[in-house]
Symmetry: C2
Subunit: 295 residues, 2 copies
């Protein structure tokens, strides 16, 4: 019998919501109220929570990672949220709408949006590094992994490729861009779950290959949805990529080839993850979900 | 005989320059060229290097902290540099000039400046967290300390207080603002040096009290220089605080009282640091320098 993601996912997402709300409460005690409000507005607005769900699912598949995995999960979502806030800024993509609501800078102004992003990025590292003495080696490894994935050679580097004036309309460039811009952080989510649970080198390698394939599949599916969905479904404007002169998989290789490529990647991810999850469970189902979702 | 800071400081600063250049070289290997250039422009432009010099001076006073202290020093300067790049943005202070050169966004544009700042902040945590197994517990502690100082309840929180529309012209508010905006990171520099060298709880406490006093003295001296110096000396416009409607120590408590307060704080710092440096050396001299400098 296939694993029932539809019953499992809402529970996993609610767990993430609770963890994020608790940590935001702790932060608020030492944060100016206006800043805490701007941070919470974007952090606690729902969303798919794919990255933290992946951290927890990998840790759970390996016997659980306790509070270290939970801190890693929250850190991933903080970093993802900061990247959305900064990407939406007028100087970047200049987006007014995100998940069906006005973007952070439309509500709090540009200065506060920049600072809310900066604070979420910084506090992510506090979440991941702070803990009891026995946890510190794993936490330091997770911190280095996270910084590498989010930094100049990862997510930020990918955003630089994305705003470059001379982006070539080539599949290889697109793959590299997405590997950095979204792939690196998704891959890190998988690896952090393994590190938090003290998994083997083999498990870490499986997380790497699964995360790499799923990250790219997820992004191709995003590009496809941007072409085939409605603004109402997505909670953000559609055909935004095209309007911004951004190259997408459907534009570069065609819609059908994009869908085929995404499905091949999903199969590769499911194959890789068998080391960690021998019987298909949440991780295999999340790979399917990454391309079958409707928003 | 008094310690000769004038002969010592250039060597300490050159050591920092070499460390930063080496780390930037390493980063460049995995960073898109345009991003690496924007990061280097602001990171490798000289400056006083107060924070990294403090990290290394504390570690050296306690027997040295090796590469862990050096990584901590570089991380501090990366975070300081990112904060300057973001503070200078049009949406924030809108400054065109920094250390006598055009600000990052004037050269590379707003989007790249935001991303260069984001990348410097992120890579700071990579520098501090990445290392050999034996170093990981100290590195995790340093990471948590750094994130706490730079985050919502530290530097970013201070910047939020600084851009607030309703800043009261009260000494207490100013002290709190500066404690967060510049003090937290200076204090963290001192504590990171102790953590890197494996110093005692007593040394950590001395670093805390020294850093707290020096950080505030340094900021009061900055406010005083803004009133009494010339743009040529400072490498940035003077009376900028007044023009921006920003409250300063001289404006709130008067010029003479500001100078007196700064000197009292320096004495307090020198008293506290005797635990770490029984014979006056670089740390005592740096406390004097924090208010006696001319830029």
């Amino acid at each position: 019998m296939a694993f029932d993601l539809a019953s499992w996912l809402p529970g996993a997402q609610q767990r993430v919501e609770r963890l994020l709300a608790t940590r935001m409460d702790t932060l608020s005690l030492r944060t100016p109220a206006a800043l805490a409000e701007a941070m919470s507005y974007s952090l606690l607005d729902g969303g798919k929570r794919l990255r933290p769900v992946l951290v927890l699912a990998f840790a759970d598949a390996l016997g659980g990672g306790g509070v270290v995995a939970e801190d890693g999960a929250c850190a991933l979502e903080c970093i993802h949220t900061y990247s959305l806030i900064h990407d939406d800024l007028p100087a970047m993509d200049d987006d007014d709408l995100r998940r069906g609501r006005p973007t952070n800078h439309k509500v709090y102004g540009e200065a506060m949006a920049i600072l809310a992003g900066d604070a979420l990025l910084t506090e992510a590292f506090w979440f991941v590094a702070m803990g009891s003495t026995a946890e510190l080696p794993a936490r330091a490894r997770m911190t280095a992994e996270l910084a590498m994935a989010a930094g100049a050679g990862g997510m930020v580097g990918g955003q630089v490729l994305d705003i470059a004036a001379d982006r070539p309309a080539a599949q290889e460039y697109l793959m590299q861009l997405h590997r950095l811009k979204t792939g690196a952080l998704i891959k890190a989510s998988c690896r952090l779950g393994v590190l938090a649970a003290g998994g083997s080198a083999e498990a870490l390698d499986a997380a790497e290959r699964y995360g790499e394939a799923l990250g790219l599949a997820f992004q191709i599916a995003d590009d496809v949805l941007d072409v085939t969905s409605t603004a109402e479904q997505l909670g953000k404007p559609v055909k935004a990529d095209e309007a911004a002169g951004r190259h997408t998989f459907p534009a570069v290789v065609g819609l059908e080839a994009s869908r085929r490529l995404a499905h091949e990647l999903v199969e590769r991810a499911k194959q890789a993850v068998k080391v960690v999850e021998p019987t298909p469970g949440p991780l295999a189902a999340l790979a399917d979900y990454s391309v079958e979702r409707t928003k």
